[in-house]
């Protein structure tokens, strides 16, 4: 039995070089590498196209494009300040709502829930993340907007309308559409993704740390507050920044409920625009080659810059968190 096996060994070593399939190796390697590099080319092309597409606007209006709040197709004067303002404020407000919600849900999923319930609710959270954004827009417009118009804003005006300093925040007619509603919808949309990241980083902590906390007699909240959170800080922040990136680029849901007004003001309930919603709303009336389209492309370039920096930052934080976890 053994002798034939030994005899066949040299033959086996030789075998690969005789096989025709071996020639496929460099070709396949090249194909895989080229596709991988193609991803970089796509990103490079996106950056190049957005910048060159918006160049006419940057050249026409100069740096003033960034600070001008005028958006007037009649006089052909366009500025980015109003939609940038709307994007930043709506995302920031959305985070104010979404972060506590996501943290509470992640805490519940990882520390409080019975295993069976955790998997069902975890699934529900994932499903909420999968709902297309246009559905959030319709739901927001037909369900949330009336609630804000009839209950939330009147109540807010009753509460804060006569408080100096706060009255400006709740001023304006109760349309229901505006920054506040957009922020609410965005919050619902980004909560699942922030929750998912938080849950993953919480669960990636070695169980022995959690158990030693309980072993010392700590309550579940104390373990979360003093063991889990410090341990997973970077991942949690990474998840929050990721959510912010999503919120800033969200288009359809915001387009339904933001109210389409290029106006900078104090009121949280006033109609506004985000970069994405303005592009979606104005694009149909912007013929190719027009200054308006160039301005929209320039806005796209700004959105790209903001969201890529945000995403880069969040990925960097998450990667650092993972590295720390591996240590």
């Amino acid at each position: 039995m053994e002798i034939p096996a030994r005899q066949s060994l040299p033959a086996m070593k030789q075998a690969p070089s005789h096989q025709g399939g071996q020639k496929g190796d460099p070709a396949f390697r090249l194909l895989a590498t080229a596709t991988g590099v193609g991803v970089l080319v796509v990103l490079g092309a996106i950056i190049a196209v957005m910048v060159t597409g918006g160049w006419k606007a940057f050249a026409t209006f100069g740096p003033g494009f960034l600070v001008s709040a005028v958006w007037n197709p009649v006089t052909q004067h366009f500025g980015a300040a109003a939609p940038v303002f709307g994007t930043v404020i709506s995302s920031a407000l959305a985070l104010l709502v979404a972060v506590p919600l996501a943290f509470g849900t992640a805490f519940w999923l990882t520390a409080l829930a019975p295993p069976a319930a955790a998997s069902v609710i975890g699934m529900a959270v994932q499903l909420l993340a999968a709902v297309p954004s246009i559905i959030f827009g319709m739901w927001g417009f037909f369900v949330v907007v009336p609630v804000v118009a009839h209950y939330v804003q009147p109540a807010a005006r009753q509460l804060f309308g006569h408080v100096p300093g706060l009255s400006a925040l709740v001023a304006g007619a109760p349309f229901g559409t505006g920054l506040f509603t957009a922020a609410l919808i965005l919050a619902v949309m980004i909560t699942p993704s922030i929750t998912a990241v938080m849950r993953d980083v919480f669960l990636s902590m070695p169980a022995v740390l959690r158990e030693s906390g309980y072993g010392l007699g700590a309550t579940r909240w104390e373990v979360m507050r003093h063991v889990v959170l410090p341990w997973s800080r970077q991942g949690v922040v990474g998840g929050i920044v990721l959510g912010m990136g999503r919120a800033m680029g969200e288009t359809m849901a915001v387009t339904f409920v933001i109210g389409d007004s290029n106006h900078i003001g104090w009121s949280l309930f006033a109609p506004a625009n985000t970069i994405a919603s303005l592009i979606a709303l104005e694009f149909p009336e912007s013929p190719a080659g027009s200054l308006k389209l160039a301005s929209l492309m320039a806005l796209g370039a700004i959105l790209m810059a903001i969201s890529f920096v945000t995403l880069w930052f969040s990925r960097w934080l998450l990667a650092r968190g993972e590295q720390a976890a591996g240590r």
Partner: protein, 291 residues
Amino acid sequence: MKANNTLMRADRSASLLWRRHMCDRLATGLSWLGMLIVVFMLGSILWTLLKNGLAGLNVHLFTLSMAAPGQPGGLANAIMGSLIQTGLAILIGAPAGLMTGIYLAEYGAGSRMARIVRFVSDMLLSAPSILIGLFIYMMLVVPFGHFSGFSGAVALAILAMPIVVRTTEDMLRLVPVAMREAGIALGAPKWRVILFICVRAVRAGIMTGVLLSIARVAGETAPLLFTSLGNSEWSLDLGRPMASLPVAIYQYAGSAYQDWMQQAWTGALLVTLGVLIINIVVRVGTRGGRS
């Protein structure tokens, strides 16, 4: 004196214990509240869709194309357009994603280049889809002078690809070294080991990624507004504007006509159910496979 001290200390520790438990209770209660709000939101969305959408679910929706308000119409062309564009997007995006995933896991592993590619792919995964739409508009719509179903499919392909990259790489990393070595020991070239041993071993996992990417792009609206535009007539021509379910919903939901609104809701119900069912199948399926 000493007894008094002990008593005070006991008292203090009891109050501390009480405070700690109250903190825990409060945090627990708020956590339950947060979870319930999230579940309530999902419930509210599904309920709204069912309440408004079920009424319009009939044969005409699937057999008639979009029509003027008041005329008998359906969403047949939009459904068909969505199927074509999503299908073509996956045909382009999935193989590209698979190859990139193979590059990341098998060829580039550990190299600086691979790290950059992975990073960029992850960034594309979360990039605003409206930017992809504008990008393809400038690349494939402006040069050709007209909107087209093909450009819509390419935009969706760019959105689908990073998901497949992610799952393919993650899955390939799970393949045991022994399995690769067995293939190499039998004299198989590396590409055969990768395609016919590694990829084949994890094909269920890669399919998961492909299904998730279908679910992601099937509901995308923003990029299609700039690329395939929408079309109210039945058209299978990839070189012309093509209808899609999300864009049709967008057009109808913003209208003031009762029958268009009804079709928008029913369309929304269809899209959401489709996307959620894919997600449920994938998640239940992978969980069953793992345990």
